[in-house]
């Protein structure tokens, strides 16, 4: 496959890239005082699997996310804990710094951020 036709997922390095990123990303999220309270009562194993699925999607890889799933999964956080745009921004920021640490070129990071951005309204229940 020539470089011009490689998908974003392939350019990032596919599943190996997701595996490299997921630990760094989730560690950042859990250490981030702006947002870690949203993860207080979650089962770590299930949560790690979800983070991996989220990164796979944001990397442009295979996924089965539907907007309705995203809405349903975050509804209680919006309602009870006040999940809002500032928290969504913090997650995207952690995603970007994760990729920077992995020396991913800025142009690809912007594409990842753009895909993550498409979930904003569903996550925030709008």
């Amino acid at each position: 496959m020539s470089e011009t036709t490689a998908t974003l997922y392939e350019q990032l390095g596919g599943e190996a890239a997701v595996n490299a990123a997921v630990d760094i990303f989730y560690r950042k999220v859990l250490s981030d005082h702006r947002i870690n309270r949203f993860f207080d009562n979650t089962d770590m194993d299930k949560q790690a699997a979800k983070q991996k699925a989220f990164l796979t999607m944001a990397f442009g890889g295979p996924n089965n996310y539907s907007g309705a799933d995203m809405r349903q999964a975050h509804a209680h956080l919006v309602k009870k804990l006040g999940l809002d745009d500032s928290h969504f921004d913090a997650v995207v920021e952690n995603l970007a710094t994760t990729l920077q640490e992995l020396h991913v070129p800025q142009a690809l990071i912007q594409q990842v951020a753009a895909i993550a951005e498409t979930t904003r309204n569903d996550v925030l229940g709008r």
């Binding site: 599943e15 997701v18 595996n19 859990l30 250490s31 790690a48 699925a53 796979t56 295979p62």
Partner: protein, 328 residues
Amino acid sequence: MQTRKISVGRRELFCQPGESVLEALLREQVEIAYGCRQGSCQSCIARSLDGAPPVAAQAGLKDVLRHQNHFLTCLCYPERDMAIGIGSPEQRFCHATVTGKQLLNAETLLLTLRTDEALDYYAGQFVNLKRGDGLQRSYSIANNRVHARNLTLHIRRLAGGRFSAWAHDELKVGDSLEVSDPQGLCYYLPSGQPRNLLLIGTGSGLAPLAGIVSEALHHGHAGEIHLYHGSREMDGLYWIDELRGLAAQHANFHYTPCVSRGDAPDGVAGGRANDVAMKQLPDLKGWRVYLCGHPDMVQQSKRQAFLNGAKFDDIYADAFHVASSTLD
């Protein structure tokens, strides 16, 4: 490439050349969870029942899952006919005789069993014990793999615990029990790598960890091995002298008993075992972590270990879920 036969339970179906096992299962409308179809989500996991699956079908799986011949059906292009299992397998039991009973402390019984057949277990796994009327409970194996027909188990007396009270008060040497096949993924596999191990247990969560320590030392594990055993008070701890003795014999084995209430005597740390461990070992990068005991401790320690740098795949946990408030 040729057509391969796949047996699933009582069904048999054929996997065409170039077709993955998942595709064949879905085509034949066998019920199986699946997601990405590319080896990422691991939803479509299954187990080969007649030997190792193709190596490529195990990409990304945790070592203990690979070791037990689990594989991803979406990545599996069979190289031979295969018998596979989806979901939990049926439990198989074997007959065992009680060969010893000894109290480890006021509430914990060391029960020794001899099974009629050798069990293929790994230190850290658990078995279900079943008595005559069918009542069953899970207990971790506290010895290493060398003793294939002898099992030692730590049975903690729980308030209102039907099985534990019976095992403590009525079960006698010479009595019979049924023992299930060993289960669970929280166990030690010798890897030959000099990796450091951190083991944290509360209460009878020491049982599987003691088995793992013994197994690791038996294999001459080259990394450091740190064991933290916690209880509320001193009388909830046991094997203190034995474990101190083991630490004196092996330079790479370190043992820290911990009590979370009241003053800790000399040589015992004050505080919850997981908090003590995480404070003493702030950098767990590259470590393997084993957690056994109270579900809250296990849950909290997973997070702490991860934030201290351990990789998710390197954290092995067995939470002891009981319907009782006495476990700590």
